[in-house]
Symmetry: D4
Subunit: 251 residues, 8 copies
């Protein structure tokens, strides 16, 4: 692969290929085709973070293969989301994988020792939002962020939230995770001056509609500064929060 890159750069130097095309080519090359998957080996360069394996609907064989492909291309830090316990066990027979069952998340490689100065606050409405919150927290930590967990502070007892206001307000970005009516996002959004990423959860019954009500509530927040991700998408919230939290950090 490096030969290709060198020759490409030489073409640029010689003026044979302009910079745009070269950039494009760089972005487009490094894929390994495993048959069942096109492993994207340049993502760490292109998007600043390693490839994440979406574990749902993949066999343990496929996941093992993708990890091997990545490792043989020098990627030692790999995150796997929505990884069922039984699949995780099978993967662990082949690779050294840390698995957190509560969050259905696993990772290859060590947690980073260096963390950001600034922090991400993860705030949940209730105990039932725990799984989504941990998917979010572990992802954020795996990406090198300092994380503050403030769990079970839903608006039905708003004093619990107000008690933790200082720690919430000190964050550079806040993830609010709530099911049922999702009002917590609006209340937090109205109190702080940093971006709030709202994660609706499928907690609730009847007209909670598996998280749709919380989602709609968050999309219509009367507080400004709230953006939303898919239901139960703790990973997605962490991904964006990580981007924001790293702005201005010394590398």
């Amino acid at each position: 692969m490096s030969d290709n890159v060198r020759s490409l750069l030489e073409q640029v130097k010689n003026g044979q290929v302009d910079v745009d095309v070269a950039l494009l080519k760089l972005k487009m090359k490094p894929i390994e085709d495993l048959g069942y998957a096109n492993v994207d080996l340049h993502r760490q360069l292109r998007q600043g973070v390693p490839e994440v394996i979406y574990g749902a609907g993949k066999t343990s064989e496929q996941i093992v293969g993708i990890i091997s492909s990545m490792q043989s291309n020098g990627q030692g830090h790999i995150l796997i989301t929505r990884l069922a316990p039984d699949v995780a066990s099978e993967v662990q027979e082949q690779h050294s994988l840390t698995y957190i069952k509560d969050a259905h998340i696993g990772y290859v490689g060590d947690m980073p020792t260096k963390k950001t100065e600034s922090s991400i606050a993860i705030v949940t409405g209730g105990t039932s939002d725990y799984k989504v919150a941990e998917e979010c927290a572990i992802t954020a930590e795996f990406y090198g962020n300092r994380v503050n967990r403030i769990y079970d502070v839903g608006v039905a007892g708003i004093h619990r939230l107000l008690q933790h206001l200082d720690i919430i307000m000190s964050a550079k970005v806040i993830v609010v995770i709530a099911g049922m009516e999702g009002a917590l996002a609006s209340v937090v959004g109205g109190l702080v001056d940093v971006p709030v990423i709202a994660v609706p959860t499928s907690v609730g019954y009847g007209t909670a509609f598996g998280g749709v009500t919380a989602l709609l509530s968050m999309l219509n927040s009367c507080a400004s500064g709230v953006t939303v991700v898919n239901i139960d998408n703790g990973f997605g919230a962490a991904y964006t929060a990580n981007m924001i939290n790293h702005i201005g950090e010394s590398k």
Copy 2:
């Protein structure tokens, strides 16, 4: 009509008809058929409040006719909801009607001078909820309730709500009126110990879906003690609030 009632009561006295049947007949009789409407003249007895005319989709001729029928049967206090301004004008040519344009509501007869000791608090999220709130407030006042209006205290600036906490908490029943994500119902519901009737409004755009999001949010409130009525149904909330507020009042 009174002849029927007398004869019925005599039948009861003679043991010819038992009390249940008599009660049922009493409930079923007093209807005047105008062709276009079956005016229900005993509702004040049966449900404690006068017949209310739902103005939407009725011509001014029909409304005039129904008012006349009621008045000739001794009902001097009549409320008309969802009454369009032009229809109201035409009705006013035939009857003495007080019309509040902002709330699209009108009434025949005077506002009651005697009010309840206890009060109904009407709390809104924003200025745009004004119309629904006034439909609610005027209905409640027409039914003899003391009403406290606390408007524009939505959760995006929760301190505005907390400032009015004392007056809200002193009510016997609270109506919370909000559009967008409707989070106000949950926040109020979590702070008080009296029934909260939540009215979703059609305020908002996009995924506010004309009030559906606020409705769903309110139905899934993580706070207990919150019940819900139809979107923009200020009248319905006032009707139930009136029932609750009159409990234990000296008649």
Copy 3:
């Protein structure tokens, strides 16, 4: 905790802190953080009823821990809703818990011996609404209410309902529980002059949509005085009914 309260009250007495702030502080303090939950120990004062544990999605360990925390803070009466039978069994190994399997509800402490003079009527459309009705009835009884059960009186055979009209009409507040088309709420609402709290149930198939049809029907009741809670939310209906039924009762 009492030290904090005493010093706060002294501040008030000295004029150092005004009454509002003191009240607010009183409402905001008494929380015990168990890590997985922020137990709210002042709710009985703030909302008149003890904390209720929403059992769904909680492990038996978490529930056992929350009960212990409450008991060690002097709360002897605890209600647990949506408690699965197997979780209940595990809780019973640690705490004395009365469990009613049909309603998936349990409670710690005795049922109150003193009941309200006035009663709550719980009316259901069919036999299939039994579980939701019992969740409602047991909650109401646990809160000290006299409860009248009138089950299986749906509108397909309206004479069954009319037969029980007297007992229904004697209630201070009525809970109507029905699935399918939920018409029972409208029929009851049209006959009585007390608040009707309607609970749609997930009974039915096809376009019953798991209770959505009954919910929509109840929200659009042509009868006034009907408010609605979430699908299958027997607890929520009982909570509000309890508030209403206690109005005017001697304490």
Copy 4:
């Protein structure tokens, strides 16, 4: 056209074409192609009633042309539904058309003088259902049915319905027309032993969803014997009611 039919019948007589094919050909032939429409001139034979023109979205020119085509083929009785007043006026310049503005319906030819012995009962929940009810009633009368109108007897005041029970029960088929929660269909369906055709109407607001709630309610009726047509489809209900009402009638 008659030449074709004769030759076809001769083919059948000669055994050249079997009966099935002949029937099929008879059903398939009599169409006049106007360019903008394929006028179906045999419908009266095939389905027992004349072609009905669905007026919505047709120009007055198109309607005039279709009427002319029908008349020149011997069809003197023509019904036109969903005919806007201005289009009706333009049609009336070319054809003798009776137009009923309230029901947006018109017809060419006289109302039949002979009516069925048995009757269709048309029952509505409120005054606002009037337009749909009249579309239904006039269609039924145009098809030669005796019609009984029982309007404004919704379940919020169920005694109004019970008062008219005798006339409702004497019908051979009942059309129930209601908006909002549409509970009337269930109540009527539970009281009678003849087919009930339920027509949801778009009356209501908010979660009435333009008739969807009434439709869902009617589809889930706990009473048996209720079938449903599209929202506001008074014509469709009359069409089926006419079929049922004519069963067993002397021709």
Copy 5:
């Protein structure tokens, strides 16, 4: 019970109670309260057919009890719909029950030997609609109707339908049962001149939405004379078809 009826009739004879009240009382009385169910023992009189037990969500104990109550009140013919095989087995230990597993339907008593002259045609789109079709057919037969089954004639191969046109057209009423896009109802409705009752089924996948697409399609049939029941409601279609098919039959 008979004493009550006799005394009521004597009251009528004496003129003490008028006919309407007597009829109403007759309709309202004969209920046996089993605690878990209010068994309606007069339905055969009121609606012409015996009480049907909706088996879904009832325990075998409850069903056994209801059957016993009915039998001890002289009702020998009982239909039980949506009866799961295991519950049916348990019921069969107590009562003589004929159970048809494919249709999840059972009945106590013999099939009637006398059938109607006229027939009900039951037409299905595909083999997968079989269960719903048999629920419909057996119900209709249990109510004494001659039934013609025309299965698997969906519009994808319309010649299959046209082949059976004669038998379909000879019916007094037609039930069309189809899933997926439900187009069969429109095609049949356009060919015949008798009432068509359409039953959408939950057959299909993806945007078939469990029968909602077929339901919507049937409600919007461009053919007149089509009415619709709930998804998979074979019983409901048979119930109405039975009513229609018995019109004009010698009793």
Copy 6:
């Protein structure tokens, strides 16, 4: 622009740039930025047909500018869809534009004189589908296709469809356009052996839901070979039909 292309090709010849990159560059270059629009001048090469202007929501000034830009780049044949009559008039003041009001479509340049040997059949369910059908037909003709229009042959009178079977079956591809329940697509799809492109239309009322019912019906067609486009998207159907109809044609 041509300079760029020549130099690019020289780079390819010299081996400086490989074929893929050259192709990509060719595809990516020819855009004229008008500020309000990025006019795509190579589309005729890339996709075989000229750029189509989607007229909805564009001012006449913008449309005039885009046409000018295209013409000055040598594109003489331009189609404009969803062009309101008043906007069309304003465009006609600047450009020679043929406008077909019924289809809200316009074009610059002449209709092609050479047409395909094979034909596209456009089949509609009713007269109300005319506008969508003409958008489809004119688009197809503008792209050089022979088009057969078979209008108003819906399944309520299926003999009308069967009469035109020969002409329908002779097409290389069929567009079926229908509203209400959209059953026509399934019936046609079951009779022919060429691709059927189904266009649901917004014709209908109530549960037609503005075309959603027809769309769902078409997506669930029990006939194979049916693909679907967006509601009222006559242009889109014509676009794909044109692609198919040109396969195997001599250029």
Copy 7:
């Protein structure tokens, strides 16, 4: 059967029956009624491909019977879709059936040795779309098409797609299979000049709504030339793709 056909053709020759009727009869005859199914034996003639058995909801006995009926009528190539593994095993005891478990598809007879010159490209967004893609690919191959699989090239790493552009662009028709937001259909559609058939898949969670989001996205593609089939309908896409791919091929 052949006797019927001969006599029919003689009738045509003699002028006793015209060509249209003869064609219609030919299309309508060859059905074998198995009781549980009407096997359509002429479909290969009428639509160019053999009958396909939709395996979902059919017992192994029914499938075995249908295969036997087809084979005894000379159809040696039979495809069975949505065939569960356990049912497939039972069928294999009676018939020689090739079964591909990953695609839940089976076939009787050999794969065709002769393939089309032109090819169908099948493009998927991710590994999770594999099952639907293989249902599509095997169907297409069974119908004699050359198939190119380009899997796991979703838009999140658009360079993966661009790398395979040449092979995609060389196809005569493209099937794009994607879940989640289904954006791949638009991107491919904007790059190519051949018909794109889009298959939304049920891959995703939360607001993916089981494929509805991908479906809606594909229906609203801003790229022209995209038509859509039902969610997960790989078979349907292959069926239409096969039709298109065979145009202009030498038979």
Copy 8:
């Protein structure tokens, strides 16, 4: 007001009130009650930006009053969104207001002269997204951000997007605005390594469902780093983008 603040601070200094309470009080005080609105005068402190007036549903009198209240409290920079042209004209009679009609947005005070070093890229799919894009752009500029507009680069012609990749990639945060299928958000999200805020617009017809399809598509983006706001909510996207873009900027 300042008196209150001073006394509060003295209480803090004296140790009578602790810092948390003081902070809370500071946040809760500065509200001016205009009757129709509770103007929030401390928002600039609390959330870093001035109060924004949501113009929809407010009269010009109300808006004039709110502006006056703000100005008399020292707020010179005021933004008003969703401001209709006629209301804007009336406001301009009382206040110096800059109004941008295309974006339905206005502001009081000058645009800031100092801008951020880093930039926000605003990318749209088509010309029809212009209004929402300008609401976003002007809001961002009013908050002092450097803004790059890249309009009309939808995925149907993906080369248009790739051409602008450099400028897009140089932004600190990107707002993607698109209607129809909203695929642009995924494509951009897959190419960049900064936060992408996606704004679905109501552009499209039929199953675009007024922006819902674009919203769902964006929520299910297979690209990470995409968060979403309400349909057409250009303001909301700008608000969050502003927060992110200011991180690390020298104040």
